[in-house]
Symmetry: C2
Subunit: 226 residues, 2 copies
C-alpha cells in the first residue's frame, strides 16, 4: 500500500505527463479502469499498475493523474507501433490536438483495417489526452509511422468530388491535415475529395469529425463491396 | 483601455465561467476571434466585446478566460434558442460533456436543417467549452428545448437496422443518449438503429462521433432524395 507521494512508481507516473519523459523512458500512462481493461483485453502487460484503494491511497493516485480525472486505476505501458498498411488507413499531418489524434485512432479502429499513420506535426498519440480520446483503441490498433503503399485520397474542405463519389478499390489511404492549415504541399495525393456540407452551414468540420465521417463512408462502402 | 482586473466587464466575464452566473445574468461568453467573428456573421450583437491589446491589457483578458486559451478577443452574448423542428434534427439525452454537446451542434449545422434539442441531463450548451466545440455554430444554429413532431429514430450501439437501411422520409429526429448510460427509457422511439462497426473493433463511438456520422448519413441521403 503506497502512502507517500515520493513513491517511485507515483513519481514515474507524474513524469509521464511530459513528452520528454515519455520519450526518455519509452513509457506512457493510461488512466482509468476502462483503459486499463482495454489494454488487458488487447494483451498488453502493464509495466506498472496501481489501483486505488487496493494499491495506493486514492488521493495520491488522483494527484498523480495527468488528466485530473480522479482515476481509480492507472497503468503504465511501453508504446508499440503498427506497420503501415491495410485496405483502408488514415494519414494525419499537423494535427496538433491530442484529443483529435486519439479520436481518429478510435475511428480507424471502428471503420477500417489499417492504422492511423502520424505524419509531421502531429500530437503525441501516447499523451494522456490522446490515450483517453482513443477510448482504448490505442491498444487494439496502435498508430503507425511511415507510409502505406496505396491510392492516396486527400480530404479537403472545399474541392474535389464528394466522398460518396470516390471509388473504393483497396488499398486506400485517406490524408487529412491539421486544424488550421489543412494539408501541407507535396503529399502526392492521387485524388482530392470533400465531405458535402449544407449550404449556409459551416465551412468545415473539426479534424476528428471529418476523419470519422470519411472513414465511415469509405469503410462501410468497402466492406459492402466485399 | 482596461488596466485593472477589478474592471466590471472583466468581473462579469470571469463570473460567466459558472453556470449559475450564466443563468442569473442570462449571458454567456465566446472566446477567441474566430468565435466573435462567427457571432457577428450570424447577426449577434455582443453585450460586451473586449479585444486585446486595443481595449484591454492582454494578460488581463487571458486571465479572464474560462478556457485558459489566451484569447485575444472575448465577446459576451445573450443566449437564444431555436424552435424545435426541421426535416432532420438531433435530440440529446444525458450528454454531460460540454465538448460533445458543442460538437453535436456543429454537426447539426453541417448536415441537417433542424437544431440540436437538449433533453434532461445535458451539459450547458452556452458553457465556454461547448461554445468553443461548436466552432461558432452555436450562433448560426442555436440549440432548442422541447420536442419536435417527427418520426423518432434512436441510435444505439448494438441493435436494430444499420443507418444506411433507414428510410429518410422527413421529418426525422435522431435520438442519442449519454456517454455511459445510453438512452433513457420512455423515449417513444419509432425505430432503433445502429452504426455498423467492424468486427473486432470497438463496441461504440463517443457521442459526438456517433452524432456526426448519423447526421451525415441521414442528412446527405435526405438531401439526395429531396
Amino acid at each position: 500500500m503506497i502512502r507517500s507521494r515520493d513513491n517511485e512508481q507515483l513519481k514515474t507516473i507524474r513524469k509521464l505527463r511530459q513528452k520528454r519523459w515519455r520519450e526518455r523512458l519509452d513509457l506512457f500512462v493510461a488512466e482509468g479502469e476502462d483503459l486499463v481493461e482495454a489494454a488487458a483485453a488487447a494483451g498488453w502487460e502493464p509495466e506498472i499498475l496501481l489501483r486505488a484503494p487496493a494499491d495506493v491511497d486514492p488521493e495520491l493516485l488522483a494527484e498523480a493523474s495527468g488528466l485530473g480525472s480522479g482515476a481509480r486505476a492507472i497503468g503504465v505501458y511501453r508504446p508499440r507501433w503498427s506497420a503501415a498498411g491495410g485496405s483502408l488507413s488514415l494519414e494525419l499531418h499537423d494535427v496538433h490536438d491530442p484529443g483529435n489524434v486519439g479520436t481518429a485512432i478510435r475511428s480507424a479502429h471502428a471503420f477500417c483495417d489499417g492504422p492511423v499513420m502520424l505524419g509531421p506535426g502531429c500530437a503525441d498519440p501516447f499523451s494522456p489526452k490522446a490515450v483517453r480520446a482513443s477510448m482504448g483503441s490505442i491498444f487494439a490498433r496502435p498508430p503507425a509511422r511511415g507510409r502505406a503503399r496505396a491510392r492516396r485520397i486527400a480530404l479537403v474542405p472545399y474541392a474535389g468530388r464528394t466522398l460518396a463519389e470516390v471509388a473504393v478499390e483497396p488499398p486506400l489511404v485517406l490524408l487529412l491535415g491539421g486544424e488550421r492549415r489543412g494539408l501541407p504541399a507535396g503529399l502526392d495525393a492521387d485524388e482530392v475529395v470533400r465531405i458535402p456540407l449544407r449550404e449556409g452551414g459551416p465551412e468545415s468540420l473539426n479534424v476528428a469529425m471529418a476523419a470519422t465521417v470519411a472513414l465511415y463512408e469509405l469503410g462501410t462502402r468497402m466492406a459492402a463491396h466485399g
